[in-house]
C-alpha cells in the first residue's frame, strides 16, 4: 500500500493531465448541452410546424441513437463525408453536447409547459411581446423547474465523457489504466479513479443545488437546504426523461 501511494504520487502529473481532458469535455459538453437544450427545447414549442417539427426530429434522433455511435460518426464518418476533421476533443464535445443536449431539450420543453397558464395569460393581458414574455416571465420560472433534471443530466454527461478514450483521447479514464499498469494493483487504481469521478459528480450536484436555490429565491420561495452527504445519495430527479 505504501508503494502504491508513492506510485500514485508519481503518477499525479499524468492523472492531472487526464483530469484536464475530462474537465474540458465536461465543461465544453455542459455549455453546448445547455445552449442546444434551450434552442431545441424552445424550438419544439414554436407555434409553427416549420420550426417545431425539425426540432422534435433532431431531439428524437439524438436521443434514439446511442452516444457512442454519434461519437464514432463524428470521428470516423464526418471526415469522409464532409471532409472535415474536427479532432478528437471537438468530436467528443460535439457528441456529448448533442446527445445530452437532446435529452435536456426535452427537460426544457416540459418545464416551460409546466409554468402555470396564468403566467402566460397575465403577460398576454399586459401585451408583452412574445420574446419578452418568454425570457422575462416564463423562462425564469421554468428555469427553477428544470434545474434538478438538468443536474442529473450533467452528471450523466460527466460519466459519458469516459467514452473519450475510445477516440484516442487520454482522459481520466485512460490515465486510470496507466496507473493500474504502474502499480499493478487494479483495486487500488480503479478505486482512486472512480473516487475522482465521484467527487466531480458531487461538485456538479453542489453547483446545481446552489443554482436551484438562487432560482427559487428569485421566485421568492424558501430554500430547502440539503445536507452535504444527502446530495448524491438522494433521489435522481424522477421527472427526468431517460428513454
Amino acid at each position: 500500500m505504501g508503494d502504491n501511494l508513492t506510485l500514485l504520487i508519481d503518477s499525479l502529473p499524468q492523472l492531472w493531465d487526464g483530469l484536464l481532458i475530462t474537465l474540458q469535455l465536461t465543461v465544453g459538453g455542459a455549455i453546448g448541452t445547455v445552449l442546444i437544450a434551450i434552442v431545441l427545447g424552445l424550438g419544439m414549442l414554436a407555434p409553427t410546424g416549420w420550426i417545431s417539427v425539425p426540432c422534435r426530429v433532431i431531439v428524437e434522433f439524438f436521443r434514439g441513437t446511442s452516444l457512442l455511435v454519434q461519437l464514432f460518426w463524428f470521428f470516423y464518418v464526418l471526415p469522409i463525408v464532409l471532409d472535415i476533421d474536427l479532432g478528437p476533443l471537438t468530436c467528443g464535445i460535439l457528441a456529448l453536447a448533442l446527445n445530452y443536449g437532446a435529452y435536456s431539450a426535452e427537460v426544457v420543453r416540459s418545464s416551460i409547459v409546466h409554468v402555470p397558464k396564468g403566467q402566460w395569460e397575465a403577460s398576454m393581458a399586459l401585451s408583452l411581446s412574445p420574446a419578452r414574455r418568454m425570457f422575462r416571465v416564463i423562462f425564469p420560472q421554468g428555469w427553477a423547474l428544470m434545474i434538478p433534471s438538468l443536474a442529473t443530466l450533467q452528471i450523466q454527461l460527466l460519466k459519458g465523457t469516459a467514452v473519450a478514450s475510445f477516440i484516442t483521447l487520454q482522459d481520466l479514464n485512460d490515465r486510470i489504466d496507466i496507473l493500474r499498469q504502474a502499480t499493478g494493483d487494479t483495486m487500488f487504481s480503479y478505486t482512486v479513479g472512480l473516487l475522482i469521478y465521484f467527487v466531480l459528480a458531487w461538485l456538479i450536484q453542489v453547483g446545481m443545488d446552489a443554482l436551484e436555490r438562487s432560482a427559487k429565491r428569485r421566485l421568492g420561495r424558501g430554500d430547502g437546504k440539503k445536507g452535504l452527504f444527502s446530495r448524491l445519495t438522494g433521489r435522481p430527479e424522477a421527472k427526468v426523461v431517460t428513454a
Binding site: 402555470p116 396564468g118 403566467q119 395569460e121 397575465a122 403577460s123 398576454m124 393581458a125 399586459l126 401585451s127 408583452l128 411581446s129 419578452r132 422575462r136 416571465v137 425564469p140 420560472q141 428569485r218 421566485l219 421568492g220 420561495r221
Partner: protein, 262 residues
C-alpha cells in the same frame, strides 16, 4: 344609463360572436355593446360563458365566429371584401395595450418584486421612461394601500394584497377598458372587502369602462349601471341592477339570484 344604440362609438361591440370549445358551443351568436365609461356586470350560472366573454376581449381565447370591435376598431378579425380575415398578431397586441385584466388567481409574476411587476409592461410595451414608470407605480401602490410592499416578492403577500397589486399592475397601463374576472373568488372572506373597496374607488375616480364577472351582488349593484344575465350562451335579460336584482323578469334569473344571494 341605457345601452347605447345611438350616438358615439361604443367602447366594446360584439357582433354575432360565436365561441366553441370542441363540440361545445359556449357563445351562440352574441350581440351587445358597451358604452365608454359604462360599468357592466355579467352574471349567470357557471358555464354560461361570462368569463369567456372577458377572455375573448383580452384575446386569451380565439373567436370561432363573428367580430369584436373596440372603440370602433376591429380587435382580432375584420371584414375585408366580404370575407372574415384574422388580423396579424402584432396588430392584435397593439389593440390590447389599453385593455387591462385582473384575474381570479392574481397571476403576479413571482420572479419580480411588486414594483417590477408594475413597471414591466409600461416600460417595455408603452415605452415609458423608467423613472416615470416607477413614479407612476408608486402612486398606484399608494392608492391600493401597499406603498410599503414595493420591494417584496408577491409570494410574501396575502391573497388580498396580491390582488390589489394585480389591480395596480393593470392600472399602470392606463387602460380604457378593465376586465375583472371573479377577482374576489379565490380570496379568504375577510380579505374581500379591501379589494372591493379599491375597485369602488377606481370606479368613482376614473371613467374606465369596466366589465365585471362577480358573485358579489352588492358590489355589482354599487358600481355597475347595467347587469347582463347569461344562460346557455345567450343574454337572458339585462337592465339596471336595481331592476334585475329586485324584480327580474325571468324565472331563471330569479332562481339564480336566490341561489347566489344565500
Amino acid at each position: 344609463m341605457p345601452p347605447t344604440e345611438s350616438g358615439g362609438t361604443p367602447a366594446i361591440e360584439f357582433r354575432d360572436v360565436v365561441k366553441r370549445f370542441g363540440d361545445h358551443t359556449v357563445l351562440k351568436g352574441l350581440n351587445f355593446t358597451v358604452s365608454p365609461g359604462e360599468r357592466v356586470t355579467l352574471i349567470g350560472p357557471s358555464g354560461s360563458g361570462k368569463t369567456t366573454i372577458l377572455r375573448l376581449i383580452m384575446t386569451l381565447e380565439s373567436l370561432t365566429g363573428g367580430y369584436i370591435d373596440v372603440h370602433g376598431e376591429p380587435l382580432t378579425h375584420e371584414q375585408r371584401g366580404g370575407k372574415r380575415v384574422a388580423l396579424p398578431s402584432k396588430r392584435v397586441r397593439a389593440n390590447t395595450k389599453r385593455i387591462g385584466m385582473v384575474f381570479q388567481h392574481f397571476n403576479l409574476f413571482p420572479n419580480m418584486t411588486v414594483i417590477e411587476n408594475l413597471v414591466e409592461a409600461p416600460i417595455h410595451v408603452l415605452g415609458m421612461a423608467k423613472a416615470d414608470a416607477v413614479e407612476k407605480a408608486r402612486g398606484l401602490l399608494q392608492k391600493v394601500g401597499l406603498s410599503d410592499k414595493e420591494n417584496e416578492h408577491p409570494s410574501r403577500l396575502s391573497g388580498g394584497q396580491q390582488q390589489r397589486v394585480a389591480i395596480a399592475r393593470a392600472l399602470a397601463m392606463d387602460p380604457d377598458i378593465l376586465l375583472l374576472d371573479e377577482v374576489t373568488s379565490a380570496l379568504d372572506p375577510e380579505l374581500v372587502d379591501d379589494v372591493l373597496q379599491v375597485l369602488r374607488d377606481i370606479a368613482e375616480e376614473t371613467d374606465i369602462t369596466m366589465l365585471i364577472v362577480t358573485h358579489e351582488m352588492q358590489f355589482a349593484r354599487d358600481v355597475s349601471q347595467r347587469v347582463m344575465m347569461f344562460d346557455g350562451g345567450v343574454i337572458l335579460e339585462e337592465g339596471h341592477p336595481d331592476d334585475i336584482f329586485t324584480n327580474p323578469r325571468e324565472e331563471r334569473t330569479r332562481k339564480f339570484l336566490s341561489a347566489v344571494l344565500d
